[in-house]
């Protein structure tokens, strides 16, 4: 390790002496990622165009498992990666228990929308992954499709809806926060836990992951899914007979993010990665890579189906609430859903 560190430092010093405009980095960069390999690949390819000397290695686990693995590594005081890719709430949860990550202010951060920036710069936002309704166009005509979140409790959609189970999905906690905290604060009728009781009464299926829900929607077995944009983007790319609905109540947008481990062996490369993630180059491949909406305004982006970004109401999620109340929300949900 020490020799690698020395080599890296020497190379970095050499690079600095050569006064390259973008400081070229080298060595290996190890990323723990909850985003699938296939989604990370375009991002890495684009990164390597700027930093060809860095060998990026990725180890992917589904988000919930990754969180537990890192937890065990932190307990043994032995983190293995330089960077982690998880959602904001999960990164915050690890940080609050172990001070696992180190703050860093990426070079282009001021181009990122202010509302999405982390005050402490521990969580570096990569893209926004809002919740929406995905439905199967072979099963349901556009005129009959649900228009809002509240519509999903309509008897017309009995036994047709699927959503993720908060006992196994991290992301869906953003949606729970939205329905039980945000909407009730706006005095929206039918929101709160009673919304989930009504969904349960309407025969809504719980699934372990949003990927399964996407396939159930695409096949028509569960023609309506409470879904994340990233999966809608995937469906659009592969030509599934599905369409997206942006509910007028709003779309809770969870922040897909990266963070640098405090114990990273190659901080220069890790920082170069974070710089790249918020840069214009990085942000323009984000819809093709992680499948979600860019965090900069100076990157052109149209949602699948052609909806312009400014016509939808993305509600920033209170990730501090999600972090602090995960257990309690899971338990309350189980009660409301009658499990």
């Amino acid at each position: 390790m020490t020799s690698r560190l020395l080599t890296t430092t020497a190379l970095a010093a050499f690079a600095a002496l050569a006064a390259a405009p973008a400081l070229a980095q080298s060595g290996s960069l190890q990323i723990y990622s909850a985003y699938p390999d296939e989604h990370m690949r375009p991002l890495i390819e684009a990164f390597n165009k700027v930093h060809p000397g860095v060998t990026v290695e990725v180890s992917v686990q589904p988000g919930e498992e990754l969180l537990s693995t890192i937890e065990l590594e932190m307990r043994a005081n032995s983190p293995r990666a330089d960077v982690v890719g998880l959602n904001e709430a999960s990164i915050n949860a690890l940080q609050s228990r172990h001070t696992a990550f180190e703050a860093y202010t990426p070079a282009g951060l001021d181009g990122v929308r202010e509302a999405l920036r982390d005050a402490e710069n521990l969580v570096i936002p990569a893209c926004v992954n809002p919740y929406l309704i995905q439905y199967n166009t072979n099963q349901i005509a556009a005129a009959d499709a649900p228009k809002s979140w509240a519509d999903l409790t309509d008897a017309k959609y009995k036994d047709k809806v699927a959503m993720a189970d908060p006992a196994s999905s991290q992301s869906v906690h953003s949606f729970l926060w939205f329905e039980t905290q945000y909407l009730p604060a706006q005095n929206v009728a039918g929101s709160g836990w009673e919304f989930f009781s009504a969904l349960a009464a309407n025969g809504t299926r719980l699934e372990g992951s949003h990927g399964t829900i996407r396939d159930l929607t695409a096949s028509g077995e569960r023609p309506i899914g409470i879904q994340l944009l990233a999966n809608g983007q995937t469906s659009a790319r592969r030509g599934d007979p599905t369409a997206l609905v942006w509910p007028p109540e709003g779309s809770p947008g969870e922040i897909s993010a990266f963070a640098m481990f405090a114990g990273s062996d190659n901080k220069e490369a890790a920082q170069a990665w974070l710089d790249f993630v918020v840069s214009v180059e990085g942000q323009s491949v984000m819809p093709d890579a992680l499948g979600c909406a860019p965090v900069r305004n100076d990157v052109t982006y149209t949602l699948p189906g052609g909806t312009p970004l400014d016509q939808i109401n993305i509600v920033p999620v209170d990730s501090a609430f999600v972090t602090a109340n995960r257990e309690a929300q899971t338990a309350e949900f189980a009660k409301a859903f009658g499990r």
Partner: protein, 574 residues
């Protein structure tokens, strides 16, 4: 851990080498099972009772939680259902293939082998496409054919029954594969004696063959029972509340106490099954069918019974192989599974994606290396451990027997977390295997130990020790007896274990996904990555089909070679 004193058998005979070789085998077995099984299980036991001091609070919490008790009941129902149905289907089919002139033997064997190669979540998804209540092909067909009103049913894969049917092919394969060698190794003279005395062929089978097959039947049923308890993918996907799903949910919430208590309950249930199995075969000498005389296994004419077996084989092959794999093949050729069998929805692109993916070749190399290494070690150590348990009179044999079966009951997820705890902390962290392919090997060895030990035990039980005694009487040492007499007789079991572990290691997912580090992508984790990525189910099906074809060809070559060289004498596989 037991410290054993050893007696030679018989004690009067002074055989220095005999003592040493038996002792060495005992010592190696103890080490093997200690590091691979006792250590991770120990971690689970400790975290189930430790909470700022030793307490049973976690157990009290478990047994007062109605959700967890329901999960326990569901797990039991599923495991008993699968084990029972597996015996009912796998037993007759094994007999048919090994001892009768039934037709479609090739289809039946292929069904069994392929059931074990399939990644479980792909298969579950295939059954959802077929029997999903809303648009499952079967349901659409049935509703159309019988003019049933309504938009859903009559079949519902999202149920306890649906889970049992989805996971049944694995259990049937276990029973089948345990019984075929046993039927083949049986001396037909016993049946002939009954026939000579006037019994019908069916009666000879019922009164002579079936009772003799009890150890193999129970051994297969035990494997089916325990692996069904530990199964995770299908219940998770179908949304059935069973213990493995509860364990994962607890682990994800970092609630190691609940997870380990639930794992202990699973282990307990499997131990009870093992007690029952051991009790039922407690008089081992009754089941020895391989004595000193030579014989050739032969077929028996069951008359109309043969046709029944043919029909059973055909129906089973079609329902559990042709239809689900047909569905998967169709999905692998579709642009989007949502557009079904329409004209412009066909493509070969999914296969192109699989064969041009840069990571997949690396993953295939790693998976094949892991499968080969674990199959070899599990097969060889299986014989050693079984030999110690059955033939060496040493302390701690019963303990070895129980340790060797435990991993069956541990869900891959729980085993993986236990291994992380073991190999991240002192002193095992000094080995530095965490996050490397070696820790995957450790997990595979632990998971598949029971297969090696069980198979060798079943075969050793059939070999009368008199054969070995005779060798010793003529002055051969223990080692020579082992090499010249015992080893050739159990060689088919070793080869058979090797093939079985090899094909089961390829789709291993539940432990692999958690033990992944950098550069440790296996075929199954790559498959998961493809499924959750842009390709979705269509590309994942193409990948799955490619794995079947490649592994099937490799397996066929290995089996052909083994049979050609006489290594599989008496054992019929694919």
């Amino acid at each position: 851990m037991t410290t054993g004193t050893l007696r030679t058998d018989p004690p009067a005979r002074s055989q220095r080498f005999a003592v040493n070789w038996g002792w060495l085998a005992w010592f190696v077995s103890i080490l093997w099972l200690f590091f691979l099984v006792a250590l991770p299980v120990g971690v689970i036991v400790i975290s189930s009772v430790f909470d700022e001091g030793v307490s049973l609070d976690h157990y009290a919490a478990f047994f007062t939680s109605s959700a967890l008790l329901t999960a326990t009941l569901n797990s039991l129902l599923v495991a008993v259902g699968i084990a029972g149905l597996s015996l009912l289907i796998g037993g007759p089919l094994a007999f048919g293939v090994a001892r009768t002139e039934m037709r479609f033997k090739g289809l039946v064997r292929a069904t069994m082998i392929i059931a074990l190669i399939s990644p479980e979540f792909l298969l579950a998804m295939g059954y959802i496409l077929l029997a999903g209540p809303n648009v499952g092909y079967f349901n659409v067909l049935i509703r159309g054919a019988f003019g049933i009103e309504g938009a859903s049913g009559p079949l519902n894969v999202f149920s306890l029954g649906g889970l049992i049917l989805t996971a049944l092919p694995n259990g049937v394969a276990f029973v089948f594969l345990a019984l075929v060698p046993a039927f083949t190794n049986m001396d037909p003279a016993l049946e002939e004696a009954a026939r000579v005395r006037g019994a019908s062929a069916l009666r000879a089978v019922r009164d002579i063959t079936l009772p003799l097959m009890r150890p193999a039947m129970l051994s297969g049923a035990l494997l089916a029972f325990a692996t069904s308890l530990a199964m995770f993918g299908p219940p998770q996907m179908l949304g059935i509340n069973v213990l493995t799903v509860a364990i994962r949910d607890a682990l994800v919430r970092l609630n190691f106490a609940t997870a380990s208590v639930a794992a202990m309950v699973l282990i307990g249930l499997s131990l009870i099954a093992l007690f029952i199995q051991r009790w039922a075969v407690r008089h081992v000498e009754r089941y020895r069918t391989l004595g000193g005389k030579s014989f050739g296994a032969r077929t028996i004419d069951l008359g109309w019974g043969t046709h029944l077996l043919t029909a059973l084989g055909l129906v089973y092959g079609v329902v559990s192989l042709v239809i689900p794999y047909g569905a998967m093949t169709a999905a692998s050729l579709m642009k989007s599974i949502g557009n079904g069998f329409s004209g412009d929805n066909w493509t070969l692109d999914n296969y192109r994606v699989v064969f041009t993916d840069p990571g997949i070749l690396k993953a295939a190399t790693l998976s094949l290396t892991l499968a080969t290494t674990s199959a070899t070690l599990v097969a060889v150590m299986g014989v050693v451990v079984a030999y110690v348990i059955l033939r060496v009179k040493a302390r701690g044999r019963a303990l070895l027997d129980y340790l060797a079966i435990l991993p069956l009951a541990i869900p891959g997820t729980a085993l993986a977390f236990a291994l992380i705890v073991v190999y991240l902390n002192w002193p095992m962290n000094m080995l530095g295997i965490y996050g490397t392919p070696t820790i995957l090997l450790v997990a595979y060895l632990a998971r598949f130990i029971p297969l090696g030990v069980r198979n060798s035990q079943t075969t050793l039980l059939q070999i009368a020790p008199e054969l070995e005694e005779a060798s010793r009487v003529f002055g051969a040492s223990e080692l020579k007896t082992l090499l010249r007499i015992t080893a050739p007789l159990i060689l088919p079991a070793i080869v058979y274990t090797w093939l079985l572990v090899f094909i089961m290691a390829i789709p291993e997912l539940s432990a692999s996904v958690i033990l992944r580090g950098f550069g440790t992508q296996t075929l199954s984790t790559a498959l998961l990555g493809i499924w959750s990525g842009n390709g979705g189910l269509a590309v994942a099906s193409a990948f799955g089909m490619s794995i079947f074809i490649v592994v099937g060809v490799l397996f066929g070559l290995a089996a052909w070679f083994a049979r050609r060289s006489g290594l599989l004498r008496g054992v019929q596989l694919a």
